[in-house]
Amino acid sequence: MTLSDAHYPDDLLYHDQHDWARLEGDEHAVFGITWYAQDSLGEVVFYDPPEVGATISKDASYAEVESVKAVSDVIAPMSGEIVEVNDSLEDSPEKINEDPYGEGWLVKVKLTQPEERGALLGAEEYRKMLEKA
């Protein structure tokens, strides 16, 4: 696979299962899947979000994204409670491919264990992990 179009913003934290977290203050974060994840999956045609209020745990699945050919669990990079889901993805799941770090965000979370950030990768570490894979 060519990574020519790949991009991994420096202001995000990354989970090795190809998920990202954008911290908003000390207690909140936005989650999504990385460029690599959406590229591996192909055109996303369906996003099955969690319920607002649901509790999610680091390293466990909290949602599913499906392309025509494949389905994938989405893994939580940190633990918390869902405070908002990206409803616009119901009608336009392709935003996950087109803008995985922007309009393709998946959920907003109130973090229950903010210190988990320490276990996540920086952009450079994540890029290196992909190169090795």
Partner: protein, 370 residues
């Protein structure tokens, strides 16, 4: 994100074979995946675009992984009547015919097209995953018949060119006289002998070309330049499932007979083919389960292996499932209790724990325009 669960069959830990068009696929930036021991393009620009190109214009698929077996000799007809489910005596020179290859119990070992190339010369196209087993089966059963069974898979590259504009483009670009549907013609492609078959796996008009592997890359480029859209196995699967064509390994298996699969029409029980007794019994007595197409009503994409439920009780299993780019909804085919396999029946599909309402539909799920 966890690992991707590809629904394409995978063959692990084994050297993958490449078709003569491998370099062309790589040049186009195709996503290549293992498929039945081959490294095959699953998509180039996106499954939906490729799917739509075939439904509205013209697309081409490298299906060189499929196998070819030549059957020739004075005993060819008698031999093929014995092994193929259809009435091969009805196959005229230059004709094509669909059949099942059954075991004694009527189980489907493979489904295949047979082309009659001459008086006692036939060509059978096999599914790549079954090619070696088919060849061994045919070879063993040919003893006692005055016939030669030859593996000629290396002699051909196979290109399926499909879509409402496929014939016009092929005629213009390659100067070919094309056979009508369910016919085969000899031709010269790239100045080498070739076969042009009026068959396909998409529900659209089009042909399948069996050409010399050496000229395949040049022909591919010529068709690309003529505007034919390269399509991968991903679109091939969504296209075939929309029109309810069977995929061996999913919808057909050695544990299922053609009657429960809805393929009784290609079984001529009176010819006495291997498995005919079992097929005739299934036809007469009915089967516990039947394969039926369905559409999800609302969200959710069914996948192979998902349970089918009725009133909360398990009544079947999804054999093939995908997202339909034409209908923009989840579709599939499932084996379920025969009494429920009627169009209009409401069921639920258990898609990874979520019960998705679905309705049994009639074939095909997608009706060709015009």
């Amino acid at each position: 994100m966890a690992q991707l669960f590809n629904t394409l069959p995978r063959v692990a830990e084994q050297a993958l074979r490449r078709t003569p068009l491998y370099e062309r696929h790589a040049d186009l930036g195709a996503k290549l995946v293992p498929f039945a021991g081959w490294e095959m393009p699953v998509t180039y620009e996106g499954i939906r675009e490729e799917h739509t190109a075939v439904r509205t214009h013209a697309g081409m698929f490298d299906v060189s992984h499929m196998g070819e077996v030549e059957v020739e000799g004075p005993g060819a007809l008698a031999f093929l009547q014995r092994v193929l489910s259809n009435d091969v005596a009805k196959l005229e020179i230059g004709g094509a015919q669909y059949s099942c290859l059954c075991n004694e119990a009527g189980g489907v070992l493979d489904d295949l097209f047979t082309y009659r190339l001459g008086g006692d010369r036939y060509l059978i196209v096999t599914n790549s995953a079954n090619h070696d087993a088919d060849l061994a089966w045919l070879g063993r059963l040919s003893r006692g018949f005055d016939v030669a069974v030859r593996d000629v898979a290396d002699r051909y590259a196979m290109l399926a060119v499909q879509g409402p504009h496929a014939r016009a483009i092929l005629t213009r670009a390659l100067g070919l006289a094309l056979p009508t549907r369910m016919r085969v013609a000899t031709a010269r492609v790239g100045n080498r002998p070739a076969l042009v078959c009026g068959t396909g796996y998409t529900g659209e008009d089009g042909v399948e070309l069996l050409i010399d592997p050496e000229v395949a890359p040049a022909i591919w480029v010529e068709l690309l330049d003529a505007g034919v859209v390269p399509c991968g196995l991903g679109a091939r699967d969504t296209l075939r499932l929309e029109v309810c064509f069977h995929l061996h390994g999913n919808d057909l298996t050695p544990e299922r007979n053609p009657i429960e699969a809805g393929l009784g029409w290609c079984c001529a029980d009176a010819t006495g083919f291997i498995g005919a007794d079992a097929v005739a019994r299934a036809r007469r007595e009915g089967t516990d389960e039947k394969l039926a197409p369905f559409k999800i009503e609302g969200a959710g994409i069914p996948r192979e292996g998902n349970p089918v439920l009725s009133d909360g009780e398990r009544v079947g299993t999804v054999a093939s499932g995908t997202f339909s780019p034409s209908l923009e909804v989840g579709i599939g085919m499932a084996y379920l209790r025969a009494a429920l396999a009627e169009p209009g029946t409401a069921v639920e599909i258990d898609v990874r724990g979520k019960h998705r309402p679905a309705r049994i539909a009639s074939k095909p799920l997608y009706q060709r325009k015009g």
